[in-house]
């Protein structure tokens, strides 16, 4: 890696607030005011969000939360960011039932209804945002990071077993 690219990789550059908010609005219908009180930075291919304060002149490893990855098109929202902002989405979202949620949290793909636009979607279960799914060719591909996946998460939970019986 050349020294130049290494320098670029480690610089956080501030972005115009509305340009970032617009991307979330156009894909998920999330209003700009949801992001009020935040500022956005880009480092390499990632966009970060942090509280809107004057940052002391320091060398930073991370600024708040990495909310989106711009490496490929379309841009990809981070699971953590969707869990915070995804609840305000008005389009490109999907509500899963218990069985589907289990498949999704296990990191697996599954068939999904075709009303979704292809691309990344906000995945809900019982009012919780579980994370990010990629919808393409009738399939919903879980984007849950490996370390946050869950194997057979609801089978062991008394509450869910009961609801199955009902």
């Amino acid at each position: 890696m050349s020294p130049k690219s290494s320098r670029i990789r480690n610089v956080f550059e501030q972005l115009v607030f509305s340009e970032v908010a617009d991307l979330w609005h156009s894909r998920f219908g999330i209003e700009e005011q949801v992001f009020m009180g935040l500022q956005f930075f880009q480092k390499a291919q990632s966009i970060w969000a942090i509280s809107n304060v004057n940052l002391p002149r320091l060398s930073y490893e991370a600024l708040g939360m990495r909310i989106m990855n711009m490496k490929s098109t379309p841009w990809k929202p981070a699971t953590s960011a969707l869990q915070i902002f995804g609840g305000y989405a008005t389009k490109n979202l999907v509500h899963l039932n218990e069985e589907q949620a289990m498949v999704f949290l296990g990191g697996e793909s599954q068939l999904s209804p075709s009303y979704l636009e292809p691309g990344y979607v906000v995945v809900f279960y019982r009012g919780d945002v579980l994370g990010c799914g990629l919808y393409s060719h009738g399939k919903l591909v879980s984007q849950i990071p490996k370390e946050r996946r869950m194997e057979g998460f609801c089978g062991k939970r008394a509450g869910f077993v009961e609801s199955e019986v009902i």
Partner: protein, 285 residues
């Protein structure tokens, strides 16, 4: 230490799993309702309404943990942020931050407003710090990687120095720690701890608060560290209703220490059924 026999006896008893409700993502009532619906047994701490003892074997695998509604954190580890008492909008430095349990608790006490600088020199320890911050929905934490002794720039309203220590208070989590500890080991750590505390006092505003904490009993790493800053700062008494503490030592190895050190708090495992901790609240002159 009161009742040394009980102290020894409690060391072989495993510690109950505990967690903190993450109010950045869910309110307390909502979380308790979820646990009840799922049939997960819990007990709320007597001294902290957001602290829960959980009656499950692997709390890390709970859906509530993966979604960031709770954070698995040892009971006494929730004390230093409460003593630090950060407010929304302030600038806080957490000098030895990873894995971020206290950092994220500070962030939630500030309601994601203001700024917390979470400093962690070790690259390998930055990953868990980052992943905890992200899972818990933290938006007011920036991570730096300075040697805490040389962290360059302030001023901060409050600084937390949760110092590297011999971890004797973690015996119930990982048996053998007490057997491996020694005065020499503590004195080696003391040099680092004194330098970290000195720098924290340089970085905090005049009248600002530094909280110094360790999870060890050794006076060399506690009172003997704190006493080195009493020429530029004073101590404020720590007392948390519902949690039994012992006062800081004012004498060690036959040598009298500054009386002010009794304002520090020592937490012993047999008094609250916890691990062990030491906390000092230091106000810069």
């Amino acid at each position: 230490m009161p009742d040394f026999e009980a102290f020894q006896a409690v060391q072989c008893l495993p510690l109950c799993n505990s967690s903190r409700i993450n109010t950045l993502k869910i309110d307390r009532a909502g979380l308790l309702e979820r646990l009840e619906r799922a049939g997960i047994g819990y007990r709320v701490f007597e001294w902290y309404p957001l602290g829960l003892k959980l009656d499950v074997e692997s709390p890390g695998k709970l859906q509530e943990n993966l979604l960031g509604y709770i954070h698995i954190q040892e009971e006494l580890s929730m004390v230093p942020p409460l003593v630090l008492d950060p407010h929304p909008g302030e600038q806080i430095l957490d000098l030895c931050a990873s894995p971020g349990s206290k950092t994220t608790q500070i962030s939630q006490m500030m309601n994601n407003r203001g700024l917390v600088i979470a400093n962690e020199p070790s690259l390998g320890r930055v990953a868990p710090l980052r992943s905890n911050c992200e899972r818990l929905g933290v938006l007011n934490v920036a991570i730096t990687r300075y040697d805490g002794r040389n962290f360059p720039r302030g001023p901060f309203d409050r600084v937390l120095v949760d110092a590297p220590c011999s971890s004797e208070g973690r015996e119930r989590k990982g048996p053998g720690v007490l057997a491996r500890s020694s005065s020499k080991k503590s004195l080696d750590l003391q040099a680092l701890q004194i330098d970290l505390l000195k720098n924290a006092l340089r970085l905090v505003k005049s009248g600002g608060i530094v909280v110094y904490s360790t999870c060890t009993y050794a006076p060399e790493e506690n009172e003997l560290v704190v006493k080195t800053c009493l020429d530029v700062a004073r101590l404020e008494n720590i007392s948390i209703p519902g949690l039994k503490e012992c006062r800081g030592l004012t004498e060690w190895n036959g040598e009298p220490l500054d009386n002010d050190l009794m304002n520090c708090a020592r937490y012993y495992p047999h008094l609250n059924d916890t691990g062990g901790f030491f906390v000092a609240k230091i106000i810069k002159n």
